[in-house]
Amino acid sequence: MTIRADDVSKVFASRGRTGTETHAVRGASLELAPGQTLGLVGQSGSGKSTLARIILGLLPATGGQVLFDGSPTGKFGAADWARFRREVQAVFQDPRQSLNWRLDIASIVTEPLRNYGIGDRAGRRTRAAELLEQVSVSPKLLSRRPPEVSGGQLQRIAIARALALAPKYLICDEPLSALDVSVQAGIVNLLLDLQERQGLAMLFISHDLAVVRHLSDQVLVMRRGEIVESAAADDFYQRPSHPYSRELVGLAAATSPATASPADPATADHLVQTEAAQKKGD
């Protein structure tokens, strides 16, 4: 059983009279096998989140298809989606925005169980405490609401919610970038533990190459809607083949304190042009 994206494209038509089109994803293919972690790295606007949303069925593709267990999700009916969502769950960037502020933590964590009619009220309450324990959050928080909980704790709670149905796949879209630096490592460790303990397969999306590489078995690099490189994590770091990947690796090295070096003006100039070109291309 796998999730496959097969030559997926997404074109957004602009609303203006100009009729311009934005090619957010261009023929992207990937395969997420059980127990495997795929890292998807790229800058904002490169199409990584759009691809994730297509895989999750939150956006329709305009070309290509997503195959779940061999069947195209484009032809899914309600029952197929219900089965899909039991197996595939998501964690988004900012838990302050992705979680319902009106619910208490217990309801947030067990909502998927309620949706699937699993267990009774008391059973779900017990399960909520178990789920929080899995993500190292005190059960004392069960009766709190999101505004009363820190960002790092909330992201753990979002992960607990995603685990409620014991899925086989977790799609994590920038799960660290809204969090304080000192709590990010804890979330990384939690995801590593979940991979190991539960054999979860993960699509881990981030702009942070060092974190992606650390967590992933395979690293995919996305740029302007295209997957420009796919390599095993170690190979990727040591021998990035696409010029853009080399640039990313160089930047990651340059911004790590251990190897801080003076900026290379040639690279900077090149990037200014890239940036301007990207804007024009939008």
């Binding site: 590489r213 967590l215 930047l251 790590s256 900026a263 940036e275």
Partner: protein, 352 residues
């Protein structure tokens, strides 16, 4: 601006140059001097201290990075320096001197002179700070119009030139563009142009790169470096990410839960941090030489919330600290070290 701080009512205008010259004799080396700054916010009728007795100076010509997470008080400190605290905030005690001028007691008119002319401010989100219905040119020109009384049409050439200096191509066209037509990186460049156009001595930037992509972040830092060198600017750079400033900062000040925990020259702070929090920030990131999928040296818990920051009698980091001792609950330690590298810790990391 009224009601934002505990400053006195508007008084006679201040002659900045004179005041600066008079004070300059006493304190020549510091562009900005903050002493014992304590800031409180009113939440549900109670005043909670968010910044507690923070002191530091920004030396002429240097780049000082202020690093801290949510609730560290870094942005409050910056806003206090600009007298831009929101209405629910007040400065309980302490002083802020800008080239000897006491910023906290300035009249509104004196304040307007300080802003833009002595200190340029680059706020956190350029996309939110720009007015969406005014052209970039008009907004970048504002400091010139206010401080030098020039008309916009006479300022356009300077604006275009400044935008070009910021590495923006096509500056002639950009002057007439609106904010939504620019990318985040371009907006940040334009914001820096607007902050330095009236040639201030100090540039205060609040998270100048955090909303940007990694490669654009680096360009902006390179730009700040160049602007600093070209214009002899002093820079105060506020950030949540210690890693982001290693290339530009001469010194780093680390804040945690409203307290100053460590300050020192960048290289020394990175290679031999003495405060366990600074060390924790550095070691919790997957760096070179770490085994694939190994667990990171994560700090437990999370930064304190506002009520906890206010109530903390001891060291606010003690609940997460691997080196905690009983004394840490009793009182916040005085500074150890010297004038260059100082830390507030009862049980510091060993010297290297």
């Amino acid at each position: 601006m009224s009601g934002a701080t505990a400053g006195p009512p508007p008084g006679p205008p201040v002659q900045l140059e004179q005041a600066a010259a008079a004070a300059g004799d006493a304190a020549p080396a510091a562009e900005c001097e903050v002493r014992g700054l304590t800031i409180a916010y009113r939440t549900e009728g109670i005043w909670l201290r968010a910044v507690r007795e923070v002191s530091f100076e920004v030396r002429s010509g240097e780049t000082l990075a202020i690093v801290g997470e949510t609730g560290s008080g870094k942005s409050s400190a910056a806003q206090a320096i600009m007298r831009l605290l929101p209405a629910a905030g007040r400065i309980e005690s302490g002083t802020v001197r800008m080239r000897g001028i006491d910023v906290l007691t300035l009249s509104d008119r004196g304040l307007r002179e300080v802003r833009g002319k002595l200190v340029g401010y680059v706020p956190q989100q350029p996309s939110a700070a720009f007015n969406p219905v005014m052209t970039i040119g008009r907004q970048v020109a504002e400091a010139l119009i206010v401080h030098e009384g020039v008309r916009y049409r006479d300022a356009v050439a300077t604006v275009t030139q400044t935008l070009a200096q910021m590495g923006l191509e096509d500056a002639d066209r950009l002057v007439h563009s609106y904010p939504h037509q620019l990318s985040g990186g371009m907006l940040q460049r334009a914001m820096i142009a607007s902050a330095i156009i009236a040639r201030p001595r100090l540039l205060l930037t609040d998270e100048p790169t955090s909303a940007l992509d990694v490669s654009v972040q680096r360009q902006i830092l390179d730009l700040l470096k160049r602007v600093r060198d070209d214009h002899g600017l002093t820079i105060m750079l506020i950030t949540h990410d210690l890693r982001a400033v290693t290339q530009i900062a001469d010194r780093v000040l680390v804040l945690y839960a409203g307290r100053k925990v460590e300050i020192g020259p960048t290289a020394q702070l990175l290679s031999a941090p003495r405060h366990p929090y600074t060390r924790g920030l550095l070691t919790s990131y997957p760096g070179a030489g770490l085994q694939h999928k190994s667990r990171l040296a994560a700090l437990p818990g999370a930064p304190l919330g506002p009520a906890e920051v206010d109530a903390e009698q001891g060291c606010p980091f003690r609940t997460r600290c691997p080196r905690v001792q009983p004394v840490c609950a009793e009182h916040f330690p005085a500074a150890s070290g010297d004038a260059e590298h100082a830390w507030h810790c009862h049980n510091p990391e060993p010297a290297k």
